[in-house]
Each structure stands twice: as C-alpha cells, then as structure tokens.
C-alpha cells in the first residue's frame, strides 16, 4: 500500500448560522499517493463543499466545518492557522476549478499568474521563476509558450486556459490535486485531452488526485476508486470496476442506470408524412458592418438543409460553437437569417416582420437550455404558462385550467401553479418550461440544450417526458445537444454540425452507429466511457 496523502474522517460542514443545517454529514475518505479517486453524486450532494473544506476555502460567514478531521500527510488542516494553510496551498495541495473561463484573473497575464505562485512560496530568482514557468507550460502541452506566457486569459481557448490552471496547480509539485469538475465546460475533444494530461502528470509526479465529476463516462475512464455521495452523506465506495459492475446501494444503481446509452435506440415507425419544418440553404452571419468600425464577421451557419416531419425528433449535435443554437434561433425567428428559407407547414417565414410572425408563433415553441433563467422569476408558474394562450385570445379562466392540466401532464401537482419558479428544482423548472411550450399546442418544439444543465437522474426524467409528450401529441421536435448519449436516446434523425456546416445527416442508428464523416467519428471517439454500458452494469457488448 502506498502512503496515505489525504485522510478525511467524519467531516461535517454546516451552514454558518445558529441552527444552520449540515450540508456535509460525516463523510470519510482517503487518497493514496499516485491514486485517482473520483467523487460522484448528483448536484448539490456536497462534493464541492468537501473539497473546499480541504483547501480551507469555505466561504467565510456562510459555511463552516463543525466536526471531523482533515489530514494532509498527517497534518490536521482544520486546526492549523490561516498562515499555515496559505503555506500549504499550492505547495502540498492544489485545486483546479470547474470553469476555465472565470477561474483566471482576466486582467493579469497568464504567465504572471503562474509566476505568482512561485513568488509566494519560493525564493527563486526572477529568471529562475520564468524558466520554471515556461517549463511547466510546456509540460502541460501548451503550444508556443513564449507567446502564451504573456497573453491574457481571454486570448486563450477554454482548453488552453484549463491547461494554465493545471500548470499553476502543479508547478510546485503538490502531493494532492483536487479537480472539481475540471472539464464540464469543455467540449468532448478538449475534455479528452485534459483528462489524458492529468493522468500523464499524475504518473510523472506521483500526485494523489481527487477528481470530482458527475459524468460517469469520465469516471469510468480515469478512476481507481470511487466515492458516491448523496445529499451530504457518503453512500458507497469501491474500486471502479467493482462499482460499475456490482453497485451495492440502490442510489448508486439508480445513478448508473440513468446514464443514457451511446447505443442508438431502436428506430420508431414514421407515423405521419406531414412536413412541419423545412430549412433550405440557411445562412447566418454575425457582425460585419458597423459605423466606422469593422466588426469581424462570423459565419455561424452555412448552407444548412433539413426537413422535419410531424411526430419525429431531429437531433443536431456538434461541439461548442458549431452553430447549433444559431440554427435554432433562426428557426424560431429570434434572429433574422442572412439567407435561405424556413418553411413552416409550407409557408416561408424567413423574412416575415415581427407582426407577420405573430400567427406562426404559436406553432413554434422553444425550450431553452438554462432552466434557471428561462422562467421569469417574478411571475407565478401559472402566469408563465398562461401567457401564450392569453396572448392569442384564450379566456384567462380557461387558460388557467389548461395550465393546471399541463402541470399534471409534466408530472407536477396542479397546486404548483400558484408558486414561483425559485420554489422548484432545476428539473422541475425545465418541466414547467416544457409545459409552457406545450400550452401553445405547437407543431414544432425546439429544444436547445434543454437537458444539459441537469444532472443525469433529472435528465432522464425530462427526456422521458419529451418522449411521452411527443407520443401523445405528435409534435415534431428539433433537439439540440452536444451530448451524443442524449442524442442517441431521443432522436430519430441526427445532423452533425461543424463550423456552421452540417457534415452528416441521417437516421440516428446510421449516423452514430456507423459514422461516415471523420468528424462524427472523432466526436464519438472522444465520448468518455463509450465502452461501458452503465445501465447494463457491463461493457458495451461487442456488437
């Protein structure tokens, strides 16, 4: 057995107010040198709090440890002084945060941000510092380090920024590296590179890694051992293989079976030949023009063509920035397409004015990505759902009754109608947003990353809801996602986008099961855990 680097015993963290609830209720975990331990669990289960407690970075005045011990190589972190903690950070323990976009100081050159760590903890000369920084940046695989060292964060891509974070965390060779969802914000290809990098570095330095994620795919690829948390409690711990094959606890089983499979579901029969949406040669350019200033132009969608029939789901997949949302917003006419046609039941709406759009609005509805911002927080749920029908002349009482029905349809009590959005969880809100869209009885529902913000168990519920509704109402769905697993489970057809162009389109089984375009293949390659079928607790059968 290797040396124990981190030992957390019976840690309890509570909200820092009289009688504040405990958000972490007695968890214990250990990590050994060179080991990667994953901490999983659904959102809000206390993963981040645990890691912050270890770093001594719990937000002052709102959370405080109330029991237990955290030992880093035997030294008790909860009882040591603030100065001592500062000394330990970066030298013995480091942390990488989730959002590479915001975790770096935007007004400081990235090189300086790494140098700072050296200056704070070592007595190296300036030139030695500089050399060391360059060396570290090379180690994390950054290209053209001499340029990047004096760049500002906004001049780097997300993956590059995350590499800077890693360089910063590892420059002093800490014993412990905590990575709190370090790749969630990155697209799959970049994610794959970063995971590989961490693994590499860990091997080289023998670092103990505590890796926090809710992506079981990632877990299956990197973990040695896994801890599962639920609502502040530690549910289960086991080596990765054991956990995936023989989960002991009910909660773990539930979590694993909620992970959608990459294997496309069986094709559904075509129920209707009615074409709801036809997009032809759609082009959207952003920017350009401008008074005296030349705004740079982005070609966000280029020559996009597809048709969608009633009762069918078309998925659009592709990595971040590939133009998926742009297409959706053009279809919804929230933005004006630069060229091309958009036909709704045969009528071209691409150039209609705001007023001209009005009759078509009710046929088109959208569910937005962010469940927290797509509902007006100041308006009751019922009012939100009624808004559309009332706009089109439905009497209020009738609209209200319909709203309650719809709430029940999406699995919420009718009594929820009088409440406000903040009183619901993310999954519930997304269901409300769906109910709102359905209230208009649309022919076409556009869902732009409608489930990406939800954790797997909630995600599964919402996806089921989509399927159910579609079956019942025969709505056509344009489903936008970057998650191939989700696409595989819900779409009849899939279009793959890259840099504004559709590179491959066809039925799901063909596109995902037998990709022809190399980009599609690369995407599938990068999907973490693609060899494991979580729901079946077994590797993907060699099909």
């Amino acid at each position: 057995m290797m040396a124990e680097v981190l030992n957390v015993e019976n840690l309890r963290v509570a909200i820092d107010s009289p009688g504040g609830a405990e958000v972490v209720r007695g968890i214990s975990l250990t990590i050994n040198e060179g080991e990667t331990v994953c901490l999983v669990g659904e959102s809000g289960s206390g993963k981040s709090v645990t890691s912050l407690a270890t770093m001594g970075l719990l937000p002052k005045g709102s959370l405080k440890p109330v029991g237990g011990t955290i030992r880093l190589e035997g030294e008790d972190l909860l009882s040591c002084s603030a100065a001592r903690l500062r000394d330990l950070r970066a030298t013995r323990m480091s942390m990488i945060f989730q959002e590479p976009m915001t975790a770096l100081n935007p007004v400081m050159k990235v090189g300086d941000q790494i140098t700072e760590v050296l200056q704070a903890h070592t007595k190296l000369s300036n030139s030695a510092c500089h050399a060391k920084v360059l060396e570290m940046m090379e180690q994390v695989g950054l290209p053209d380090v001499t340029r990047i060292v004096s760049s500002y964060p906004h001049q780097l891509s997300g993956g590059q920024r995350q590499r800077i974070m890693i360089a910063m965390a590892l420059v002093l060779d800490p014993k412990l590296l905590i990575a709190d969802e370090p790749t969630t914000a990155l697209d799959v290809t970049t994610q794959k590179q970063i995971l590989f990098l961490i693994k590499e570095l860990q091997k080289r330095h023998g670092t103990a890694v505590l890796f926090i994620t809710h992506d079981m795919g990632v877990v299956s690829e990197i973990a040695d051992r896994v801890y599962v948390m639920n609502r502040g409690d530690l549910v289960e711990t086991a080596p990765i293989d054991t956990l995936l094959r023989h989960p002991k606890e009910e909660y773990t089983r539930k979590l694993l079976s909620a992970v959608p499979s990459l294997t496309p579901r069986a094709a559904r029969p075509v129920s209707s030949e009615r074409t709801v949406l036809q997009v032809t040669e759609l082009v959207k350019r952003y920017g350009g023009g401008g008074f005296l200033a030349r705004a740079p132009e982005t070609l966000a969608a280029n020559d996009v063509n597809f048709t969608l029939k009633a009762g069918r789901t078309l998925g659009i997949v592709g990595e971040s920035g590939s133009g998926k949302s742009t297409v959706a917003r053009c279809v919804m006419r929230l933005i004006d397409p630069s060229a091309g046609g958009i036909r709704i039941a045969g009528h071209d709406i691409a150039t209609l004015s705001r007023n001209g759009m009005k009759p078509y609005r009710r046929k088109l509805q959208m569910v937005f990505q962010d469940p927290y911002r797509s509902l007006n927080p100041r308006i009751t749920v019922a009012e939100s759902i009624m808004e559309g029908p009332v706009n089109y002349g439905t009497p209020r009482a009738e609209a209200r009754a319909r709203a309650e029905e719809l709430l029940e349809l999406v699995g919420l009590p009718a009594s929820a109608a009088a409440r406000y959005p903040h009183q619901f969880s993310g999954g519930q809100r997304q269901r409300i947003a769906i109910a709102r869209a359905l209230a208009m009885e649309p022919d076409l529902l556009v869902a732009d990353e409608a489930v990406s913000a939800l954790d797997v168990s909630v995600q599964a519920q919402v996806l089921d809801l989509f399927a159910e509704v579609q079956e019942r109402m025969g709505i056509a769905i344009l489903f936008i996602t970057h998650d191939l697993r989700v696409a595989a489970q819900i779409c009849d057809d899939v279009a793959v986008m890259r840099r504004g162009e559709v590179v491959e389109i066809g039925d799901t089984a063909t596109v995902l099961g037998n990709p022809r375009h190399e980009y599609t293949r690369a995407l599938l390659e990068a999907a973490p855990g693609r060899h494991w079928d979580f729901a079946a607790f077994a590797p993907v059968s060699a099909a």
């Binding site: 107010s17 959102s43 809000g44 981040s48 937000p59 005045g61 709102s62 989730q98 959002e99 969630t184 914000a185 919804m332 929230l334 705001r354 009005k358 609005r361 009710r362 088109l364 509805q365 959208m366 937005f368 990505q369 962010d370 927290y372 911002r373 797509s374 509902l375 007006n376 927080p377 100041r378 308006i379 808004e387 559309g388 706009n391 089109y392 406000y420 903040h422 009183q423 619901f424 969880s425 993310g426 947003a433 709102r436 208009m440 913000a453 954790d455």
Partner: protein, 291 residues
C-alpha cells in the same frame, strides 16, 4: 454552473434574505429616525409651539428659552417650529423629485432600452442633459419660472432624469437578452407588454437604491440653491433655506445652522442607510455572494 443552486433559490425568499443578512442595527435605527421625521412633518401644525413665519423683530436671535426651545432666528421666528415645518417642505421636495425622476426616467429608459431607433436620439439628449452642471441648470430654471417649490423641484428633477434613464436602460439592455424575454417573444407577447411585465420589474431593485440617492441629493441640492440665492421664499421654511439664511451667523449663533443641519443630515443618513439595506436585500446577486 449548477454549483449551490438550491441555495441560490433559497435566497430568493425574502425572509431567508432578511434572516441571513446581518446588516446590523443601522437600517432599523435609520427607519425609526426617518419615521419620526415623517411623523413630525405630517403633524407639524399640532406639535410646533409657534407659527413658523410669524416674525417678532424684538425677539430676534434669542437663545433657547422655555417659549422658544431652540431660540429664534434673525426675524424673531421660532427656530423649532421652522425646523419642524422645514421637514415638510424638504421631504416634499425629496419625495416629489424622486417620484418625478423615477417615473419619467423609468419610462424613457424602458423605451430607449428596447427600441433601437428611439435609443440613439434619446440618449444623445440625455447625455447632453447629464453633461450640463446640474446646479447651474437648476439656477437657470429657477430664474426662469420663479422660485416656488414646484420650480425648485422641477429644476432638481431635470438633471436627475438622465441618471435614472441610464440605469434603467442598462438593466433593460441586459435583461432583454434573458431567455425568459426570448421565451415571451416566442409566446407572441407584444412589445409593450414585454416591457411592462418582463423588463420593468427587473429595474425595481436597483431603482429603489437609486431613488434613495435621488431623494437625498434633491434635499441637498435645494439647500445649495438656497445658499446661492436661488431657493424658495423664506416664508416657506425648508432645511435648506433656514441654513442658508443662518449661514452668516455660523460663528456667532451656530445653533441656527446646527439644528436644521442635524435634521437634514439625520434624514439623509437614514435614507442612505435604508437604500444600502435595500440594495443588500433586493440585489439578486447577494445569493452568489454567499456561494
């Protein structure tokens, strides 16, 4: 992204907000002081010992006595009565200016935030108004229409409007990018209704804070106008003109300036403290601050 979301939701509850704020006693004391001042203003006729404008030259500049608890001013008028009555006018000016500036600013700001075409013109005019030194503008306006409390109010309001407009507009500009506004758009909600129902409520919290500044600065500006000789008539006691009239006695009879000054400062201090508290309570980002 999903980090601490249940918490953020919890913080939307006003009760939870109040409980967790720990603002100290300051806002409470401020509220009490302000309430007392308002009550004094409302019931002024019943609580003052003398007519605030009745002069008695023989009794000018007398020190405090049983009959004149704070002494008398240069016309032999009772200082206490004047200060209490002054609360009436000063508060009227503060509140009147605030209401006018907020209502007009809100309207103009909403419209120019949402309609690009109106925006360019309206904002140029607002920039122009904002660039002009407000006190000088006020003096000019007061000279133009005569120095009644209405013109003084108008004169103070006009330079405040652009500030409110800018605030409202900036909120509208960012709020109109919110998905729920897009959602309303795709539900076929009309423009005016989107403005009214979805955008305007966003402005309430920051406007409340801004309003307290406007209110405080209106009361102060009135004092400055009086100081410069462009204030309302001495027959209408305001804290500003009481102080302005008393300023030459600053060294000989400081109490003449002390009492109205104290009332004014307490009032503005309270308004400001309440404004700060309002910001802390209403600011939706407070949730983030905790997490």
């Amino acid at each position: 992204m999903a980090d601490s979301t249940p918490l953020r939701a919890a913080l939307r509850l006003p009760t939870a907000k109040l409980a967790g704020l720990g603002l100290g006693f300051a806002p409470l004391i401020a509220a009490i002081v302000l309430l007392l001042i308002v009550l004094a203003a409302v019931f002024a006729p019943y609580i003052v010992p003398h007519d605030p404008i009745a002069q008695n030259p023989v009794l000018r500049l007398k020190p405090p006595s049983a009959d004149f608890p704070l002494g008398t001013d240069a016309y032999g008028r009772d200082l206490l009565s004047r200060v209490v009555y002054g609360a009436r006018i000063s508060l009227t000016i503060g509140i009147g200016v605030t209401v006018m500036a907020v209502v007009l600013g809100l309207f103009i700001g909403l419209v120019s935030g949402f309609f690009r075409t109106a925006d360019a013109i309206v904002m140029r005019i607002m920039d122009g108004l904002m660039a002009m030194p407000s006190v000088l503008l006020a003096i000019a306006i007061v000279s133009l229409f005569g120095a009644s409390i209405w013109t003084v109010m108008a004169a103070i309001t006009i330079p405040e409007i652009p500030r409110v407009v800018r605030l409202v507009r900036s909120i509208v500009l960012s709020a109109r990018e919110e998905p729920y506004v897009e959602a309303a758009l795709s539900l076929g909600t009309s423009m005016p209704r989107i403005l009214w129902r979805h955008l305007m409520p966003n402005t309430f919290a920051p406007l409340t804070v801004q309003a307290t500044y406007v209110c405080a600065s209106a009361i102060l500006t009135e004092a400055i106008l009086s100081f410069l000789g462009a204030g309302v008539s001495t027959e209408t006691p305001t804290w500003g003109n009481i102080m302005a009239e008393a300023r030459i006695y600053f060294q000989l009879k400081p109490s003449l300036i002390l009492w109205p000054g104290l009332a004014l400062s307490l009032c503005i201090l309270s308004i400001n403290l309440l404004g700060d508290a309002a910001r802390d309570i209403l600011d939706p980002r407070m949730g983030k601050r905790e997490g």
